[in-house]
Amino acid sequence: MEGKKIRVLIAKPGLDGHDRGAKVVARALRDAGMEVIYTGLRQTPEQIVETAIQEDVDVIGLSILSGAHTHLFPKIMELLKENNIEDIVVIGGGVIPEEDIPELRKVGIAGIFTPGTDTHDIIKFIREKVK
C-alpha cells in the first residue's frame, strides 16, 4: 500500500452526460489501489489539462460517447504539448469507431478502450505504462 501511488484523472470532456462507464472505471481503479480524481461532466480541454497539472497525475482517462472525440482528444493533446507535458499517459474510452483510432494514436493517445473492455485490462495497461 505504501510506495508510489498511481494518480489518475478521469475526465468527461464535452457535453456528453453518460457517466456510467467513467464511474465504473474510476471505482475499479480505486479498488486497484490507485488515486482517482474525477472531475464530473462538461470538462473543457483547458480544465482537464490544468487539473492534470495541479494534481500531477500519471494518467488521464477520457470518456466520451458523443462522437466529439475527433475534435476534443487532439485538442487536449495539443494543450498538453503547449504546456511541455510529455510524461502523462493519456487513454480514452467510450463510443470511438475503430477507424478513428489510428488518428488518435498518432496525436499521442496511448490506448483506446471500447465497449466490452474488461477493467482489469485497463488496470494492467496503466501499471505497465506508468513506471
Partner: protein, 559 residues
C-alpha cells in the same frame, strides 16, 4: 383461486417432488449454479406453483384491462384494436438530413416520429458556441432556430403524425418551435399529437443534459403542463423516464422506484403551483427500458402500472380515471448491445421488444444492431423497424390481451417488484422527496452500486455476454457504419450568421427582454417563448436569458 386444502396438497406434493424426483436428477447432474438469478440479480426458484400466489385476489390485483389497477393493461382491447406506435428515435446532422431519414422511416411503415437532438441543442447552446465545437449534429439533429425546425418537418403534415421530442431542459423552446411550425402549416395547437420528454429529474440522476437548477426547471415543466392543458389537449406534457436510469446501471426494481418517485415529485410540483391533479395527470406519460430478462421485464411493466394507479388513487385522490393510467413508451436496452459480433444484437433486441409488447407498451423504439458503434445506418434501422413489424404481424402475441397473466412466475415477480419498488419510494419519502434524495446523492449511489456490481459480475464470469466474455471470435472491422458529415458544424455556423443578418433583430431583442422580465416573476413563460421563437431568436439566445435569471445547475456527485 384454489382453496386452503388444495394449496396444502400442492405444498406437500411439491416437497415430495423435490425430495424424490428432483433430488435423483441433481445427483446425476447438478444445476448450472447454486443460485440462479434474474437479470437484476433477484433469486429465481426452480418452480413456481399456485402456492406462490396463495391468498391472491384476481379482482383486486389484476382485474381487467382498462380497469383499476390496470395491471393487465390500460386499454380494454390493447393490440387487438391497434398495434403500439412504432416510433424509432432518429436524428443526426442537419435538419435536412434528418428530414430525409424521417420520411424514409415513415415510408417504411413507422407510425410515429421521434426526434433526437444533438447535445448542444439539448443543453441550450447554439452551434457556434465554444462548448458546441465538435458536437454539432453528432448524436442528433442540430436545431438553432425555428428555421431549422421548419426544415426538419418540411413536407411532414403535423396533423397526421404524432411526434415525440427527446428534449428536457429547453423543452419549452422546442415545443414552442413545433407549435410555430404547425401554425405555418395551418394547424392549430389543439390538433397536435405527441410527447415532449420534459423530465429534468432524470437528467440530474442519470442523463446529464441539464441546464438550470431544480426549482426553475420545475417551473418550466409545470408551465408546459398548464399551457398544454389549455391549448394542447392531445399532447403528452412529459415522458417520465426510467429508460436512462436503467441504462445508468439500475436494476428493474430501481427503475420502477426512481421513475415513479420522479412522477410523484412532478405531481407534487404541479399541485403546488395550483394546478388540479385531474387536469394534468391524464397527460402524463412514462418511458421505460426493455432489458434482457424477458419475464422480469414483463413483470416490471405490469408492476409499474399497478403501483402508479395505487399511488394516484391513494396518495393523490384523483377522480378522473384517466389520471390513474400509466401509459408508456419503451426503448430496448442500449447498454446490453455489444460492439462484438454486432449482428447478435438483432436477437437481443427481438427478445427485449417482445418483453415490451407482452408488457403492454403504448409505443416502442427498437435499437439498431450498430448501437455500440455509431448512430444507426439506414439498413440497420430498417431491420430494427422490421423486428417490430414481425412481432406485430407474425408472432401472435398481439391477438389476446396480457397473455402472460396467470403465470405463477410472472405474477410472483410482478408482486415482488411492486413491493420492493414501494419500499424504495418510502425511503425516498423519508429523505424528503426526490430532489433531496438527488442532492444527497442517494439515488445516484444506488445506481452506481448496481452498475459496479453488474460490471464485476461480467468480469468474474457470473454474467455472460455472448461474444464478449464467451463465444468470442476474431473479427474484422465493422463496415457500413453511419458517419455524420463533419461539415455540419461549419454549415450551421454559417446559417446562423445568415439568420442573424436576415431577421428583425430589434424584434428579437424586444422579445428577449420581455422574456427576461417575465422569468423573474412566476408567469407562464410559454407565450413569451413562442414570441421569441417566432421572431427567430435562437435557442442559445433564449436559453442564455433564462440562464441569466435562473443560474446553472452544479452537478452533485457522490462516488
Amino acid at each position: 383461486m384454489l382453496d386452503k386444502e388444495e394449496m396444502k396438497k400442492i405444498k406437500q406434493l411439491k416437497k415430495e417432488w423435490e425430495n424424490n424426483v428432483v433430488q435423483k436428477t441433481l445427483e446425476r447432474f447438478p444445476e448450472r449454479k447454486n443460485k440462479l438469478v434474474t437479470g437484476s440479480g433477484k433469486e429465481v426458484e426452480r418452480l413456481y406453483t399456485p402456492v406462490n400466489l396463495e391468498g391472491s385476489d384476481y379482482n383486486k390485483e389484476l382485474n381487467f384491462p382498462g380497469q383499476y389497477p390496470y395491471t393487465r393493461g390500460v386499454q380494454p382491447t390493447m393490440y387487438r384494436g391497434r398495434f403500439w406506435t412504432m416510433r424509432q428515435y432518429a436524428g443526426f446532422g442537419t435538419a435536412e438530413e434528418s428530414n430525409k431519414r424521417y420520411k424514409y422511416l415513415l415510408d417504411q411503415g413507422q407510425t410515429g416520429l421521434s426526434v433526437a437532438f444533438d447535445l448542444p441543442t439539448q443543453i441550450g447552446y447554439d452551434s457556434d458556441h465554444t462548448m458546441s465545437l465538435g458536437e454539432v449534429g453528432k448524436v442528433g439533429v442540430a436545431i438553432d432556430s425555428l428555421k431549422d425546425m421548419e426544415m426538419l418537418f418540411n413536407g411532414i403534415p403535423l396533423d397526421k403524425v404524432s411526434t415525440s421530442m427527446t428534449i428536457n431542459a429547453p423543452a419549452t423552446v422546442l415545443l414552442a418551435m413545433y407549435i410555430a411550425v404547425a401554425e405555418k402549416q395551418g394547424i392549430s395547437p389543439d390538433k397536435l399529437k405527441g410527447t415532449i420528454q420534459n423530465d429534468i429529474l432524470k437528467e440530474y440522476i442519470a442523463r446529464g443534459t441539464y441546464i438550470f437548477p431544480p426549482a426553475p426547471s420545475m417551473r418550466l415543466i409545470t408551465n408546459i403542463f398548464e399551457f398544454c392543458f389549455k391549448e394542447m389537449p392531445l399532447w403528452n406534457t412529459i415522458s417520465i423516464s426510467g429508460y436512462h436510469i436503467r441504462e445508468a446501471g439500475a436494476t428493474a426494481v430501481q427503475e420502477v422506484a426512481f421513475t415513479l418517485a420522479d412522477g410523484i415529485a412532478y405531481v407534487d410540483a404541479a399541485i403546488k403551483i395550483g394546478l388540479k391533479v385531474d387536469d394534468f395527470a391524464p397527460r402524463l406519460s412514462f418511458f421505460f427500458n426493455a432489458h434482457n430478462d424477458l419475464l422480469e421485464e414483463v413483470a416490471k411493466f405490469r408492476a409499474a402500472r399497478r403501483l402508479w394507479a395505487k399511488i394516484m388513487k391513494e396518495r393523490f385522490g384523483v377522480k378522473n380515471e384517466k389520471s390513474l393510467m400509466l401509459r408508456f413508451h419503451t426503448q430496448t436496452a442500449g447498454c446490453t448491445l455489444t460492439a462484438q459480433q454486432a449482428d447478435n444484437n438483432i436477437a437481443r433486441v427481438t427478445i427485449q421488444a417482445l418483453a415490451a409488447v407482452l408488457g403492454g407498451t403504448q409505443s416502442l423504439h427498437t435499437n439498431s444492431r450498430d448501437e455500440a458503434l455509431a448512430l444507426p445506418a439506414e439498413d440497420s434501422v430498417r431491420i430494427a423497424l422490421r423486428t417490430q413489424q414481425v412481432l406485430a404481424y407474425e408472432s401472435g402475441v398481439t391477438e389476446t390481451v396480457d397473455p402472460l397473466a396467470g403465470s405463477y412466475y410472472v405474477e410472483t415477480l410482478t408482486n415482488e417488484i411492486e413491493k420492493q419498488a414501494l419500499e424504495y419510494i418510502e425511503r425516498i419519502d423519508k429523505l424528503g422527496g426526490v430532489t433531496q434524495a438527488i442532492e444527497k446523492g442517494f439515488i445516484q449511489q444506488e445506481i452506481q452500486n448496481s452498475a459496479y456490481q453488474y460490471q464485476k459480475d461480467i468480469e468474474e464470469g457470473k454474467r455472460i455476454v455472448v461474444g464478449v466474455n464467451k463465444f468470442k471470435i476474431n473479427e474484422g472491422s465493422p463496415k457500413g457504419l453511419l458517419k455524420v458529415n463533419p461539415e455540419v458544424g461549419r454549415k450551421q455556423i454559417e446559417e446562423l450568421k445568415k439568420l442573424k443578418e436576415e431577421r428583425d433583430n430589434y424584434k428579437v431583442k424586444e422579445n428577449l427582454k420581455l422574456l427576461e422580465k417575465a422569468a423573474k416573476t412566476d408567469a407562464n413563460l410559454m407565450p413569451l417563448i413562442l414570441d421569441c421563437v417566432k421572431s427567430y431568436a435562437t435557442l442559445g439566445e433564449i436559453c442564455d436569458v433564462l440562464r441569466s435569471v435562473f443560474g446553472e445547475y452544479k452537478e452533485s456527485v457522490k462516488l
